[in-house]
Symmetry: C2
Subunit: 508 residues, 2 copies
């Protein structure tokens, strides 16, 4: 037997033995396991989950301390009868603490764990990290921003230290709208809501438009943060693969016909993680399909201004005249993530709802940060910053590409992005990126496993390399290690690699 719904997460902050214990409790609470039932022997469950037997022993011991199970020497471990059986219906058992173990559906499920894993890696300072999605922290315009902050505090004083308008600073919203109008968008300050980064913008948009089990069509692979937000809402995610021009329109049409989604979510420019740029023709095609099927398009344009070559392509929002496209962007990647300032642009009627939900979620973004950013923008700080970082990113990207050319064996493929902060790598089928990740981490090199970005948990032949936040001097060294590990796995052949994976994956 197995424990229904029990999944172990590779890099969760929660220790594996606690994950197992939680899984047993959850299965019991959900009625998938009956009180009194004998649990699988530790050896069997360890084999099923691919973990060390002692890990399962520790989980059972934790459950025993909590009275959830009891062990009989030689007979095994049994779920307690009292867990739901002994007390009379309606009479709560004293100390019935299931609120400590049975959480809402919003915080269950693998998508949340996936996001936590990805984030933990992204901010990790261990070794040489290509896992980060950070921009170049070493190039942050600290002095210029400090001076904007100081003058805002000196001039605006207490008025920026109290509650501000819920939709955000009118000045900052106008600056954002004006910038978008230069890109051809039809937008006023009244369409803009300031959020805490684009993560909040996406979450608010999805939560405003989607109820549990509503379908969303998106690129597969796509941004982990979007998958997690959708997972917490219980939305159904329908992934559509990409070709060189973006989301495949034939499969998109099929998905729309079959799933009738309320929302299509796309990153047309420097898509995370595949780095692809959607062609103008494809953009038009997707808008036409969205119109035909009456769904909203959520355009995530986190990297539009991080273009290093070629001419910009109009955003979906500009092409559509702001009618059915909700546009999401952020200052995190092009400026500084620590501001936690992003925004969403929506038709007024939708924006009203987004503002209401923003208020429910956190009662508004700090006016102080918004006004300091506005001051920085007014003084031309963003343009100066972009002029400084673009060449630096080009240098890091080129170094990374050169290192890949030199160290990665035949059969490995990667993209040559004209913007953004990532390179997307496809491995030969016999190399598993989860296993490679663990081996590389032991050698002090981090990357993002492809599985984190895929809708259905596939993508174990892919990985993402971020070059924005990595020390450029150490790029060749890190890629040399990865190249060596990939070569080893290729020479071992597929069957050995699969064996080693089963051993290596879950031990920590």
């Amino acid at each position: 037997m197995s424990i229904p719904g029990l999944n172990i997460n590779l890099e969760s902050e929660i220790p594996v033995y606690r994950q197992i214990a939680e899984g047993v409790r959850a299965a019991l609470a959900a009625g998938h396991l009956s009180p009194g039932l004998r649990l699988p022997p530790t050896r069997d469950l360890a084999r099923q989950l691919g973990v060390n037997r002692n890990t399962v022993v520790a989980a059972y011991e934790l459950l025993a301390t909590e009275g959830v199970v009891h062990s009989h020497t030689g007979r095994g471990t049994f779920l307690a009868e009292s867990a739901s059986g002994e007390s009379l219906p309606g009479a709560p058992a004293p100390g019935d603490d299931d609120w400590l173990t049975a959480f809402s559906s919003a915080v269950q499920g693998p998508s949340l764990e996936r996001l936590l894993s990805a984030y933990r890696l992204a901010i990790s300072s261990e070794g040489i990290s290509f896992a980060s999605s950070q921009p170049a922290n070493d190039l942050a315009p600290v002095k210029e921003f400090s001076s904007a902050m100081a003058s805002v505090l000196a001039e605006m004083g207490a008025s920026v230290l109290t509650y501000g308008p819920m939709a955000g600073s009118p000045r900052l919203r106008e600056t954002i709208a004006a910038g978008m109008r230069c890109g051809g968008s039809r937008v006023t300050a009244g369409n803009v809501l300031i959020t805490n980064g684009s993560q909040q913008a996406l979450e608010l948009v999805f939560r405003t438009l989607l109820d549990r089990d509503n379908a969303v069509v998106l690129e597969d692979p796509t941004f982990t943060g979007a998958l997690s937000a959708l997972g917490s809402l219980g939305a159904r995610t329908v992934g559509v693969p990409l070709d060189d021009e973006g989301m495949r329109p034939d499969l998109l049409a099929l998905a729309l016909e079959r799933h009738r989604p309320r929302v299509i979510y796309v990153q047309p420019t420097f898509q995370n993680p595949t780095t692809r740029v959607m062609s103008l023709a494809r953009r038009r095609e997707i808008l036409a399909l969205a119109t035909r099927y009456g769904c909203a398009v959520v355009e995530d344009d986190w990297a539009g201004e991080l273009r290093y070559e070629g001419d910009p392509i109009p955003t979906l929002h500009a092409l559509d005249g702001g009618r059915r496209v909700l546009y999401v962007s952020t200052f995190s990647k092009k400026l500084m993530p620590g501001l936690r300032i992003g925004w969403v642009v929506a038709p007024e009627r939708v924006r009203d709802r987004l503002v209401a939900l923003k208020q429910v979620e956190d009662c508004g973004t700090s006016p102080l940060l918004q006004e300091a950013l506005q001051r920085f923008l007014e003084k031309g700080g963003l343009e100066r910053h972009l002029r400084r970082v673009r060449p630096a990113y080009v240098e890091r990207r080129d170094r990374l590409q050169n290192a890949l050319d030199r160290h990665f064996p035949d059969g490995v493929h990667w993209t040559r992005p004209t913007g953004g902060l990532f390179i997307w790598v496809t491995l030969p089928g016999e190399v598993d990126s989860n296993e490679l990740f663990l081996a590389a981490r032991q050698r002090g090199v981090l990357f993002s496993r492809g599985e984190l970005f895929h809708v259905g948990g596939s993508g174990r032949d892919t990985l993402r390399l971020g070059f924005g936040g990595v020390d450029p001097e150490r790029i060749p060294e890190g890629i040399a290690v990865l190249g060596e590990l990939i070569r080893e796995r290729l020479s071992e052949g597929p069957s050995v690699a699969v064996d080693s994976r089963a051993e290596a994956m879950p031990i920590f």
Copy 2:
């Protein structure tokens, strides 16, 4: 006939004619109205809703432009057949834009509008406002905070302008934990999650513990922001009235027995809006009941340090040893709302989930603000600030009480709070606080209508006066106006008052 589910909100940002149009669309989308149906004549609907007839005309015109209705002179206004009838099932009509009108359940319903109204008033700078829940903005420690901010930027630089640990700055969490340990709590930095104000803390807690239709027991009346967060989750709110010692334990026991809630939400100290302080005995009683029924207690302690008289009573969190109490607080009221920094303390297993959901919602609170606050706290800034504002609040409260004593007629009752930022007023039954609100606003005086705080929309014989953010010089003048308006209504007698309400309420 009437439009099922159509409600007009008194102070919504959304114009009334648009609210009516939305209501018709929603009723149609929900199947409460059938395509082809004749809508009520404008005159009838105007009378039902208590609005001007032109407002209904404008709503019908808007719906006509959108093709939702069409008018036949002399026959009336009809819902379009095509809205759901004409096209074949499964084949979407071109331009079917129902994503613009049919929102998720999270952003439907009156609780959200209620929050928006309350907030709009709270930050309004019109006239003399007792509607604000702001602390004394004129006493904000701008200079001291500016210097903390400057030194953090100078010393920590880029490291506070990038992503930080998801649970918040470890230093700030330790400072918060240490402060709570002084109050008798068992807590470490590992139990703390930094949030964007206590609104986000409450929202995360509720969303982590509650699924749609789960019951929550709370004080009635209670904090509008909590009601809205619960409303957006579709939780069932079960209100328990208060006596002088807090939530009535006999009714609480009944509510627990009948509704089996997962959560009890309380503000034991200077409850918003009633200003009551829960006695020590009552705190113990509530914890015992929570233990007996196995539910979590969410303690909202936004005002604990704004005590002006008497000795502090231990928090529920301290009494309980942090076992089943989730503790929520904020720097907004005791320091500055513009920081948008609050926190929640929870057992580690629950905190893990809260952190995960925090990440989904906004990917973390700005490290810059957290470190600037931490620097300010380290330097003793909070103690100095509290020593300065407490006497100012006492002065404002006393001025307000004196003005009430002088200007309010017999039959009006109010609390004499020993802390917090509010006074709670009960009117004689024949005075309606919604109607009084509109009359007072015309005279340039604002307060918070009691209805905003009540679970079931009752409480129209109550109102809340905030004294924290009001100009103390103008308190007597504002209260004189309110007293005069109340006297007028008392002399008119109940029937006239009700008539005038029907006219006065919805016109704007």
